[in-house]
């Protein structure tokens, strides 16, 4: 009689048993939400705060999340709204910490960050989604709840505003 021993460690067997996270599970969107929030907030602390808030909203609305057809678009819309609220709340704070940030990070990055901080929250959202994430006007319009033509004009205005602030 031979005794067959399991060669794999216990934790490997445990990991193998782990089921993939369902698409309707809020945990499935952690990375997606954080990257979207980071593109808008441009700082990890703010992006983390927004991600926490969005995951909580997704958890509370998980029944709705399970029914929604385009989940990614819906989650992006929730993230953009939360990020807009965060930027509106912390706009003054971002300007006040100018000295602290200037001494701790790369000078060019600080200059860009402070220029972005002078823009309106919506302009930051538009730049982040268009330039950082490379989303189409339609996708940006869906996230912000505005028509594509409005996205084009406001994005153009946001780029001009960034240039104007950059030159100051």
């Amino acid at each position: 009689m031979s005794i067959v021993l399991h060669s794999r460690p216990i934790w490997e067997a445990f990991e193998a048993k782990q089921e993939p996270i369902a698409e309707a599970d809020p945990a499935h969107y952690r990375e997606f939400v954080f990257r979207t929030a980071l593109a808008i907030c441009c700082e990890p602390d703010g992006a983390e705060d927004v991600t926490q808030e969005v995951l909580l909203i997704l958890f509370r609305s998980r029944a709705k999340l399970a029914k929604v057809e385009h989940r990614a678009a819906w989650v992006r819309r929730v993230t953009v709204r939360s990020a807009l609220k965060y930027l509106s709340r912390n706009r003054q704070h971002a300007l006040l910490t100018e000295d602290v940030r200037a001494g701790s990070e790369n000078a060019d990055s600080i200059a860009v960050f402070l220029t972005l901080a002078r823009l309106t929250p919506e302009q930051r959202v538009l730049l982040g989604m268009a330039i950082k994430q490379g989303l189409s006007y339609r996708e940006i319009g869906e996230a912000l709840g505005i028509p594509e033509g409005t996205v084009a004009s406001r994005l153009s205005a946001a780029k001009k505003a960034f240039q104007r602030m950059w030159e100051l």
């Binding site: 809020p26 954080f34 593109a39 958890f59 972005l116 950082k132 960034f162 240039q163 030159e167």
Partner: protein
């Protein structure tokens, strides 16, 4: 030219954000099942607490004694013993009480 320069700086800044790792954010998990599984225990504890409150008398006074115990006490007094008569049936105690009341 100036706009493209400022936008290229912006693009570089955005590319730098990719190096930031995703933090380990705790995702809330459903607790509904756990809450409902603990419901019977909660109801039992509430019932016990309510009955204890009802049984307790005003502050400084002993708790109200249930009827069955008063019969035992009556039987003890009647028989003049320190404890209920061994093997005394509940019906016998009731008869004893009725006789005394009459």
């Amino acid at each position: 030219m100036k706009q493209s320069d400022s936008l290229s700086r912006l693009s570089e800044f955005y590319e730098g954000l990719d190096s930031i790792p995703t933090p380990s954010i705790n995702v809330p998990r459903p607790t509904g099942r756990l809450v409902w599984s603990l419901a019977p225990l909660g109801v039992s504890l509430l019932t016990i607490a309510f009955l204890s409150f009802c049984a307790s008398g005003p502050s400084g006074q002993p708790a109200r004694v249930p009827v069955s115990f008063s019969l035992d006490r009556y039987a003890m007094d009647e028989l003049g013993q320190g404890q209920p008569a061994p093997g005394m049936h509940r019906k016998a105690m009731l008869k004893l009480k009725q006789r005394t009341m009459a």
